[in-house]
Symmetry: C2
DNA sequence: CGATGGTTTGAATACCATCAAAAAGGGTGG
DNA sequence: CCACCCTTTTTGATGGTATTCAAACCATCG
């Protein structure tokens, strides 16, 4: 689960969590000495049903969080990037799965240790609470997106969410890199890969975006994309 | 926001939160002396954008939690019933709205007071954290439901979730009372009221349910409903 | 180079939303 | 108790959008 100190932007689609920027505290100190773990692309960080032993902090790379239905259909619940936390909130066993979408470096934090620290530190436990609240807000934004919206609206909202994330991180808000596959995007937005592809092609032919590579794209007309995301155009 | 001590059943659709059954603690004591508030059907408990001043515990009645898009489309995020908490997790201002769906009695708890209690009580603050985690799990189950599933699957999953709730509360799992309107159900499942109605009619004509009144129905063939919810039939 | 995994494009279908209207409650007042 | 109005629910007909099935295209890697 994404762990973020930043409140959700509440702009239709969940903005991926913000990098860890809390003031130095017990968690911060613990992180510095935490054991490192490397996972390759497609490797699981944890799976639904696993016992919850650790929480992870992403040093580099990206992770997808998802649930799978018995027939194989998958709903991606979010993407976590460098600086995000993954695995918070679960009790006992994992309710969701986490899988790297590219080679990723993680710092591993014992849940027992985290809980012990939280028990002795009301400030930390309140922060955990706040963090989970932010994640919940994100989840709800995603529901708003996948609930009633057309494929175009979902895609536009998704691109703009990634754009906002870039801006927050001081990067170019118009250049977007998609480390995940079309399948991942589709499973996140609740549409098929063909629809993802068709929608992006449509945006491109309308001059809203440029797509030199399938994983790298440039937002040309963000104002129009905003209108599409808001349901004012299609 | 729904506040529950029960983990999500992770069975496709969020089970509405479980009644408050925690051991007596500071929160429990505070509840007993908390001021009461009555709201009529359709009256707001709070609206998106309101300052977050209180958390509410439902003594009787039912409440819907939702967000509205600028064009008026609405996504219901969940329903809270007697025994549930509403309004937890928000910082500063409300990110969602809460509206009674029938006459409802609430106990009002000051957020400031709650936070003060939590700061001095690691056990309570951990419980709040756990509760939010359960709510997050519910939200994710809803995503799974509204993400890729057909109207039949969503409806079957919804009915079964209400059935499980009844069973947990010691009530008849086959008799379901829907206090909310078709519009509410539709906005929750992400389909139109017509589709809600048609789907129920289809279930009825197939002998899966009986519907003596539009708000009261009887689950006849739960095994088949389970299969539909799992996507094995339609 | 061929093989593989991922992406794009095409054509036909299925499903749900939309628009429209009828039917079924639920109150209120005569 | 019935007539009336209002809201909610149900039913019907139609069209649009996304899915499905299928094949071509493209990049990467052994």
């Amino acid at each position: 689960m994404i762990f973020s100190y930043a409140p959700s932007t509440s702009s239709g689609l969940p903005s991926p969590a913000m990098p860890f920027q809390g003031r130095p505290g017990p968690l911060h100190e613990y992180l510095a000495e935490a054991t490192q773990r490397r996972v390759e692309a497609k490797e699981f960080v944890f799976m639904e049903g696993d016992p919850t032993t650790n929480v992870y902090w992403i040093e580099s790379g990206a992770v997808s969080l998802f649930k799978v239905l018995s027939d194989g259909r998958r709903q991606i619940l979010g993407f976590a990037y460098a600086g995000d936390f993954v695995g918070l909130g679960a009790q006992g066993e994992r309710l969701i799965s986490a899988q790297a979408i590219k080679p990723t470096r993680l710092r591993s934090i014992s849940v027992a240790k985290l809980h012990k620290m939280a028990a002795g530190d009301p400030d930390l436990s309140f922060k955990l609470y706040q963090t989970l609240a932010a994640e919940l807000a994100e989840a709800r934004d995603l529901m708003l997106t996948t609930g009633h919206r057309s494929a175009c609206e979902r895609m536009a909202a998704f691109l703009l969410a990634l754009s906002r994330r870039n801006r927050r991180n001081g990067k170019d808000a118009t250049i977007i890199y998609l480390p995940m596959t079309r399948t991942d995007v589709g499973d996140f937005l609740g549409v098929t890969i063909e629809t993802v592809s068709r929608t992006l092609t449509k945006f491109k032919s309308r001059g809203l975006i440029d797509m030199p590579q399938s994983a790298r794209l440039h937002l040309v007309d963000m104002i129009e994309l905003e209108r599409i995301a808001a349901g004012e155009e299609h």
